[in-house]
Structure formats: C-alpha cells, structure tokens
C-alpha cells in the first residue's frame, strides 16, 4: 500500500510540476502587460527600488529606462490594460511577494477615469468588475491571484487559476504561439515591454477634429467610495511594507483635458487629500503642470475619454517624473542591481568621452543633405516645410559582428529628451560599403521630436547585449 501511495503522489507531483512549469508559457508574451508581469518575475528578489503601478496609461506613459538612467535606480512598472484600482491593489500584493520597493508610484488615471467599471469596482452581487483578459491571469499561482479571481469569477476560480486550463487552446494558433515563445526566449521581458510601448504615431487630424466637436460628460469623473476603500488598502500596505507612496498623473490630450479640466483636477486633488489624511504622500500632477499634451504627444486612437501617450509623450513624462523623484527622494539604491547596459543610461547624463578609434562611422546625410554642404559643417536644420527627418550613415565597431548585433541611433536634446531608434532604423547597403551591414537609414516623423537642437549618437549593440556608444559631434535642429 505504501508503494502505491508513493506512486500516486509521485505521479501527481510530476504532472503538477510539468503543468506549473509550462503554465507561464500559455500567456502571450507579445502582450505588453504580460511582459510587465514577467519583468517582475525576471528581476532578482528585492532588487527593485521603485515600482510603478497602474493601467495602460502607465504602460504607454512611463519608460523605466529613463527613470533608471536619470535617477540611478532599478525601477519596474507593472500594469494591465483597463484595470481598476481594486485590481491594481492585487497587482501590488503580487509585487510585494517578490520585491520590497522603497517607493511605489501609483498612476491616478484608473481613479480618475469616467468608466463605470473604474468607479464602481463591484457589481450588485459583489462580483468584481473586470474587462476580459487582465492582470489576474498574468500573475503567478499564489494567494493574490486566487483572491482576485475569487472576486471576479468565484464559480470558476480553479479554471482561471491555471493558464494551462484557461488558455489551453492556444495551440490553435501556432504562429502566434511560436512568436510568443520566440519573444520569450530572445530578449528580456523588460525590453519587450519597452519595445511594445514605443508608439511612433500620433493623433490624426480627424481625431483632433473629433475631440474639438465632442462633448464629454464630467459627472462620471469622480472619486467613488469603492475607490477610496482600495486606495486606503494600498496606503495600509505602504505602512505594512514600509514603502513611500507617490501619486502621479500621466498627461492626457489637451483638447479633452480643457473640456473636463475642473473635474479631473478636482478629482486628482481629492484623491491626494484623501490619501494625505492617512500618510505623508507625495503628489506630482504632471497633467496639470503641463496642461495636457498636444496631439503629437498622443497615440493615434479613436476619440474617447481614454488617451494614451506615444513615444514622444512617454519621453517627456518620464523625464519630468525622473526629475521629480530626484528632487523629492533621497534613494539609496543597491548598486548591484543597477542596470548600466541601456542606451538611456549611456546617453542621459553622458559626459564627454574620448573618441574610440576602433569605432568607425559617419552620419552621411540628413534629408539628403550632406553635412559637408551645410552652412555649419556640424549642424543641419530641418526646415518648417519638411515633415520627416531621414538620416543615412554607417557605423562599425571592430570585433562586433553586425550581422548578429544591431545598430541604434539616439538623438539627444539637452538632458530631458532623448529619442532612441528602434525598428524604424533599417539596414542600408548603400552606406558604409567597406564594412558589411554597417549602413543604416532611419526615417523619423518630425513631429515625434520636440523643437530644438539634437546631438546625434551612434550605438552598436553586440549579440551578447554589450552597448558601444559614439558621440558623432553632429547636430540636427528641428524648427
């Protein structure tokens, strides 16, 4: 009998281990929110200094590479699209299982949003309101996940607890599965999240017109009792886990903001005042400070009460937030966990470095103009009539195989705006013919850059993720 029990237990252990091992692979790692959770699990335990929590606004609004670079910390953002404050609370519980951050930044849009789900949180049967596939699935097996699921769908808790049950039919779309697995094994979750949120388009004229014409209902923008309850729970956690709580806003489209300004500003302030009663909390209303952002900072989406930032907006907001953190907090990060290997880390606060003679390259043309022909040999000005910036050039670093590595361009304006290329940079065989794969070409929509003078940097990323930076001592000026 003993051997039978051992056999049964062993069988169950093997099956459970197998299923739990493959469980996380059932999630689609091409999804930014999935990657935000995966980045939490990939990070070393208790290695993160600042955690940002929120919904899709946070996802599109904050670039943790910029925060890390400017504040010299290790930060993380954990988000899921369309979630409300109660779900954010459970996300925080999950985060606290793995990390002991010094600061937790809560983005306020889920509390300000006029959506009924965000306001009510629960229906009349005390079932948590949720929009489809959300953060509950992205969490690993454990108590926060269990608690959240029992509130959302108490009848099918165990079905939702395991991704291999809930998403067992993923095999029907093998192409997607293979893409997801490829993603999972190729780069880190943090980098996937970074790339996913790099949106390079902005509101088009018809959307702008739409915002001008549409009336928005202000009465649904309020801080409900249910929301208060969950904000208080987060405050309680901050005492329990000893972290500072930072409330902040991410800018929205100025046209919409101006129409609902009173409601949004008052609600944000009410939230802050409510939280302040319980704890000393810092509040940075970026949205109010900027008065919203113009169309070129906002992602092109349909007209609604819910706007997201594009890459340009993300750079701007992240820089402001980083400056605020530097000013308000005296963090003592553990240098062991600071990642120095990001483009942002190399460029923000970069000092003049000696020219690397084994690093060759040149920016040959900007919008087909050669620097040699320019009035000032180092500066090319993009005129008001030009709508894009097309850079062509080449870069080569001795000892780095460019077939397996990648080329990056960074445009730096002061210390508060750095545009880093991504998939918009392509190989160009007409450039740098002496060095295989060294030529590049990049087209940047001019409106994705702010006005001003940008210094150009070449970066080569080797196959083993080593970064090599070269200051090109060339500038472009956006009029």
């Amino acid at each position: 009998m003993r051997s039978i029990v051992i056999k049964i237990v062993l069988f169950l252990i093997i099956i459970s281990s197998l299923l739990l091992t493959i469980d996380s692979y059932f999630l689609d790692s091409t999804n930014a929110s999935v990657n935000s959770f995966n980045s939490l699990y990939e990070a070393d335990k208790n290695s993160v200094d600042i955690v940002f929590i929120g919904n899709s606004h946070l996802s599109k609004g904050i670039n943790t590479n910029i925060i890390d670079a400017k504040c010299n910390v290790n930060s993380l953002k954990v988000h899921a699209g369309g979630i409300q404050i109660a779900q954010i609370y459970y996300n925080l519980l999950e985060i606290l299982k793995h990390q002991s951050p010094k600061v937790v930044g809560l983005e306020l849009f889920p509390l300000v949003h006029s959506d009924p789900i965000s306001n009510k949180l629960f229906n009349s049967k005390n079932k948590m309101l949720s929009k489809g596939l959300k953060g509950e699935y992205f969490k690993r097996f454990g108590i926060p996940k269990y608690k959240e699921i029992t509130l959302i769908d108490p009848k099918n808790t165990w079905y939702h607890m395991f991704n291999f049950f809930r998403f067992h039919e993923n095999w029907m779309n093998l192409e997607r599965v293979s893409k997801s697995l490829q993603n999972r094994f190729s780069v880190s979750a943090k980098e996937l999240n970074y790339n996913h949120n790099k949106i390079l388009w902005y509101l088009n004229s018809s959307s702008i017109e739409g915002y001008k014409k549409r009336m928005f209902i202000k009465k649904d923008i309020y801080f409900s009792e249910a929301e208060k309850r969950y904000l208080k729970k987060i405050i309680v956690l901050s005492d329990e886990y000893n972290f500072a709580l930072l409330l902040f806003t991410i800018p929205i489209y100025e046209e919409y903001y101006n129409k609902v300004k009173d409601s949004i500003d008052n609600t944000s302030l009410k939230i802050y005042n409510y939280a302040k009663e319980y704890k000393e909390i810092k509040f940075y209303d970026i949205n109010k400070e900027l008065g919203g952002l113009s169309a070129t900072y906002i992602m092109g989406e349909k007209v609604s009460e819910n706007q997201h930032l594009n890459y340009k907006g993300m750079i701007k907001t992240s820089n402001l937030l980083a400056n605020f953190i530097n000013k308000e907090y005296n963090l003592k990060p553990n240098s062991l966990y600071i990642n120095d290997n990001t483009v942002e880390k190399l460029i923000y606060n970069s000092k003049k470095t000696a020219r690397d003679t084994s690093y060759l390259g040149n920016v040959e043309t900007v919008n087909a103009k050669n620097y040699r022909d320019a009035e000032n040999k180092e500066v090319i000005t993009i005129s008001l009539t030009e709508s894009q910036v097309k850079l062509e050039g080449w870069m080569f670093k001795e000892g780095v195989n460019l077939k397996r590595g990648s080329k990056i361009i960074a445009l730096k304006k002061g210390n508060n705006f750095v545009y880093v290329s991504g998939k918009d940079l392509v190989d160009n065989s007409n450039q740098g013919k002496s060095f295989e794969k060294s030529g590049y070409s990049i087209r940047i929509n001019k409106y994705m850059l702010e006005k001003g003078r940008y210094k150009i940097f070449h970066i080569i990323k080797s196959h083993d993720n080593e970064l090599y930076l070269q200051d090109m001592w060339k500038w472009i000026v956006i009029k």
Partner: protein
C-alpha cells in the same frame, strides 16, 4: 455532476479514498456509495432525487412481494404496479409534451385548431436509464429468473450507482446487484486499468466529441447556410461525435466502477467496423439493445412466430428504441430506418450467401469487409441525420442536400471542411480519430492495457503523463465550452 467537470475532479478522489477506507464493511461501504451517488445526482437538481428514491422504493417492495406470492393474478398486478409507476414517470416527464403536440398537430390536419398548451416539464437526467434498470429487476423476478434482495441498502445503491446512473450502461440486477454483497481488496492493477479507461473515455469525449460538436452544431443549427458537402462532413463528424461522446461516457463509467472493484458490462465494441446492421447493434449500446431484446422483442414473440411476425417485431422494437431516445418524430424515423434495414437484412440473409458464392465473391476477405463496412457506415450516417437534426424538416432538407446539392468542388474547400474550426482543430480531430480507431482495432486482437503493463517504467509513465497532457491541452472545456454528454438528454 459532469464527469468532465472540476466538481467531479474533486468529488471522485474524495469518494475513492473514503470508499477504500470503508470497503471492508459492506454495510458502511454501501451506505457511503448510496450517499455519494445521491450527492452526485443532487448536484444537478436535488428535487429529482426523490424520483430515484421513489422508483427504487417501488421496485424494492414489488420485488419482495412478487417473491412472496405465487398467485398469478397477484403477480401480474404487482408487475403492473411497477410498470405503471416506472413507465408512468418516464411517460410523464419525457413524452407528455410530445403527445400533446402530436395531438394538436393531428387535429390541425383536419383544419381544426386546438388551444392546448404544452407543460413546462424538466426532463430528469438519466430517468430513461434508471427506470429501465429497475424495471429489469422486477421483470426478472416476475419471470422467476432472479431472487429479490432483502438488502434495501444494496438495492438502492445498485439503482443509483453513480458511475452509470445518468447514462448507463443499463445494468441487469443479476449482474450488478450481487457485486454489492461482496467485499473487495484493493487491487492496484485493476484500479490503474480503471483509471486508464477513464482517461481514454475523457479523451474520446473532450478531444474528439466536443471538438467535432463545434462543426456539427454549426451546420445542423443553420441548415440553410450549408450545402451537400457541408452536410456530409457534418453527418460523418456527428457519427464520430456521438460514438466518442457516448462510448466515452461508458468507458468512464466502467473505469470508475472498476476503480472500486465493480464490473460493469461492456456497452460498445467498435461498432463502426460492422459489416451488417445486425452486427452494428451487437456492438452499439449493447446494454440497451440486449434490454430491448430481452424485455420487448422476446415477449413480442421474437423470431418464433414466423417470418412476417419476426420482421414486425424487429420493426416495433426499433421504433420503440427510437422513442426511448427522444420524444420526437425524428427519433422514431431513426429507429424505423434501423428497423427496416434489419428487416431487409434478415429477409435476405439466406439468399445472400448463395448469390455471393455464385458470383465467386469471398465475403471474408478484407476488401469485402471494407466494402460492406462502408455501406453500413453510410446507412448508419443516413439515419444519424434524423437523430441529430433539430426538426423533421431540417432532416429532409439535409438528406435532399446530400443527394442533390453535392458540389464536388467543395470537398477540398477549406471553407467547407473548416466550418467553425481552425485548421489545427481539424487536424487534431482527424489525428485523434485515426489514433482512436487504430487503438480500437488493435484492442480487438490484443489487450492493450495488458500490453502496456508489460512495457518498461519509462514508457508506461510517459504514456500516462502524455494522455493527461493531451486531455488538458487538446480537450474542449472551460466555463463557456463545457458540453454535456449527448445521452444525458435521453
């Protein structure tokens, strides 16, 4: 409670552990089995539990009384009481609305309209199965083929035995009831083979039947949107769906019972390899066909009252069998088709062989098996159209479509063979059917479980783990997708 539900996945391990703890004390074990079976049934709707208790009570008392009296009239009266209550319940819950509708419709044929509303009656799950099981007990005692039991607990547990309570196999008291008087020693091999059978049943149900259902439901619920090729594919898939659904249930039931030491009768034996419809009915739903043989066909006279009467008896049995499946004209026609073809088979039985001999055809070679197998499969599929179609009009429309609107160009058209399915789903169905039939054909020659037991540890464990993973990954389940077993509605 569905076998393919999380509730059951929690229920069964608890039951089996307690069962083996109390198994040595018969009284305790039977009490526990009875409670477990009632919980299992009440999970669906506790109110209908009283019907089972009532039915069990009637037949327990009638059985005892029948044994005590030798007076023929009294015995007939007692049998009548059992038939009246059991068939009365069945008739009320299953057929009342059918007869009201038929009555109203028949009046409309004469241009008269009757305003009689149908009743809002819920069909209790498994009523057709457990009433037939209790009836067989009383009839066997009436025929002096069985002694009644005095052990009411064993009898009640026999009627409500949860593995086969809602969809059979319809057991005979002479086979199953005595098993409630015995004690069993825990037999690891038996439990393991039972669990393997459960896994195989779940594979049939969740991987093949429920996935095929997506296609079949789409076509049969929207007949006007599809043509002959779609109908043909849907009907063939339905043939596999209903087989995998029902035989899957039977496998699970037999497997579950086996894990507790009980032996249930075999209900299916690779029916789609049959070379005649007679053979088909020896392989399909064996417990029901033998029930009808013993309690309807033979009492009607069987084959002992001349050829014509034999054919009529056969036809009657299959029409009743159709009606047993469902209270609708489509089921009656389904039964009638089977009855008719069986009559033809019986009538031509003696002249068939001499004709084949004259033509020099060897009926025992593989190609002939295949030829007749395909013909029988075709006939069975044709009858399935009536079984599955939502209305009689739909079934006529589908049959007409298959024969008059069959566009050969659509055979390999993705849009036709992938209706409602993704390409990978279609592949999974095809591969699973191939796997299933290969396994079943091999099982006719070899005992696959024995064969598996002879393999090395790594192979065996890899197989066990794989089958669990295949069900978890490729099965259809989830809060929206879970499908009841087709035979639950009967």
């Amino acid at each position: 409670m569905l076998f393919n539900s999380l509730d059951f996945a929690i229920f069964f391990p608890i039951v089996i552990i307690i069962y083996w703890i109390v198994s040595k004390k018969i009284l305790l074990r039977n009490s526990f089995l009875l409670i477990a079976s009632y919980v299992f049934y009440a999970w669906w709707d506790w109110r209908f539990l009283f019907l089972i208790i009532f039915s069990s009570f009637i037949d327990y008392i009638v059985g005892l009384k029948l044994y005590q009296t030798e007076n023929k009239n009294n015995r007939k009266k007692l049998l009548f009481i059992s038939l009246f209550f059991n068939l009365g319940l069945l008739f009320f819950f299953k057929y009342t609305n059918f007869f009201i509708e038929s009555f109203v419709e028949s009046f409309s044929l004469f241009g008269k309209t009757l305003n009689i509303n149908t009743l809002n009656i819920i069909l209790p799950v498994g009523i057709s199965f457990y009433t037939f099981q209790t009836l067989s007990y009383t009839i066997d005692i009436y025929r002096n083929q069985l002694k009644p039991t005095k052990d009411w607990l064993a009898f009640f547990a026999f009627v409500s035995f949860f593995p086969q309570l809602v969809a059979g196999p319809i057991e005979r008291a002479s086979h199953l009831l005595p098993q409630f008087y015995k004690t069993y020693n825990f037999n690891y091999k038996l439990v393991k083979s039972g669990l393997l059978l459960v896994a195989f049943g779940l594979f049939k149900k969740m991987v093949i039947a429920d996935r095929a259902a997506v296609y079949v439901n789409e076509v049969y619920n929207n007949v006007e949107d599809y043509g002959g090729v779609g109908f043909t594919y849907a009907t063939i898939l339905f043939a596999f769906q209903i087989y995998c659904d029902f035989s899957g249930y039977s496998d699970i039931a037999i497997g579950l019972a086996r894990t507790m030491g009980f032996d249930l009768m075999k209900n299916f034996n690779s029916p789609y390899i049959s070379k005649s419809l007679t053979e088909f009915w020896r392989r399909w739903h064996i417990s029901l066909s033998t029930w009808f043989r013993d309690y309807v066909y033979i009492p009607l006279g069987g084959s002992k009252k001349g050829k014509i009467r034999t054919y009529i008896n056969l036809f009657i049995v299959f029409v009743i069998s159709g009606l047993w499946h469902g209270a609708a004209l489509t089921f009656i026609i389904w039964g009638a088709i089977h009855g008719l073809v069986l009559m033809i088979e019986k009538a031509t039985f003696r002249i068939k062989q001499p004709i084949f001999n004259k033509l020099g055809l060897n009926t025992k070679n593989t190609s002939n098996h295949l030829f007749f197998g395909i013909i029988i499969f075709f006939i069975v599929c044709l009858a399935w159209v009536f079984f599955r179609a939502n209305t009689l009009n739909d079934s006529v429309y589908i049959i007409k479509g298959i024969f008059t609107d069959f566009n050969f160009g659509d055979i390999f058209n993705k849009e036709t063979y992938l209706i409602g399915l993704r390409p990978n789903e279609f592949r999974v169905i095809i591969l699973s059917i191939i796997f299933l039939f290969t396994a079943e054909l091999l099982h006719l020659k070899y005992n696959l479980i024995e064969l598996l037991n002879k393999q090395g540890l790594i192979f065996r464990w890899s197989f066990y783990i794989s089958i669990v993973l295949v069900i978890v990954l490729f099965g259809v389940y989830g809060d929206e997708n879970i499908q009841e077993f087709i035979y639950f509605q009967f």
